[in-house]
Symmetry: C2
Subunit: 158 residues, 2 copies
């Protein structure tokens, strides 16, 4: 199964610094935590009650979108790839990331992950601890993820 899912256009209620800056007319864009409503990660692409809180849309000079993604214990993404890669900044708790064919690697608050384009992987909480990360996803042709099969319980680390 391969499906395309783009986190919705992330209507950007961003604060913009009030400035006349020497940056070619560009300004800083600030995504404020809590300024936009979070949504539940779709059941087709996530196991468990995952919360996705948009922070920044991609656009202009910024090729990455940003969202706070929170996984309670036992929750995880499906297997997927990112056409233009993704950075994760783990901001709370501890969880897992795993590449296809590889071993799960523990990640916890303070860790940062670079997932290159096309690498099939999943990430999420452990069975007993929640995990939250800011996901910064590169966008290519308007798409930032290709979703695949869910992570079977038998394959979810104990």
């Amino acid at each position: 199964m391969m499906a395309r899912f783009l986190i919705p256009a992330l209507l950007c209620a961003c604060a913009v610094a009030n400035a006349a800056a020497p940056g070619g007319g560009q300004q800083q864009v600030i995504g404020k935590a809590g300024a936009q409503a979070a949504s539940k990660g779709p059941a087709a692409y996530f196991s468990g009650e995952v919360e996705v809180g948009p922070l920044l849309a991609a656009g202009g000079s910024s090729k990455f979108s940003a969202a706070q993604v929170t996984f309670p214990a036992g929750a995880r993404s499906a297997w997927h790839t990112h056409p233009a890669g993704q950075y994760l900044v783990v901001t709370a708790g501890s969880g897992w990331t795993q590449e296809w064919g590889g071993k799960p690697v523990a990640i916890r608050a303070g860790d940062v992950v670079w997932c290159p384009p096309g690498v099939k992987h999943w990430h999420g909480a452990t069975r007993t601890t929640g995990m939250s990360h800011v996901a910064m996803s590169g966008t290519q042709d308007g798409k930032n993820v290709d979703w695949m099969e869910k992570v079977a319980d038998a394959d979810y680390p104990r």
Copy 2:
């Protein structure tokens, strides 16, 4: 005054997922908090005792480096620009970011900032509260920042 300062090559003691992944031979790169020694931000470019903890080097498919940068109360960067832009993920506390000619904008844990290439700005703690962020800096021609004058005490928000 304009000076160039590149956070040193960030010798990358990164954990690499043990995998044979369908990503063109690429693998995830994981920067573990605390795996590399932090250093003090140079006094020419920072006011106060700023700690810079490297997490990820730029390289391969990843065009951004990542570092945890911690500002105790009163500490801040000098004015600077980024030739390829920078994302900030604020992970603790509250502080300021300000563009040249603009007003200071409060940032706090959970916020994310995109600073476009060439925008002159500074960021740091408030006078009374520390702030820590992961800085993800784009690299262009081996350079991720151009440093300028320090933020004068009279210009530092009260």
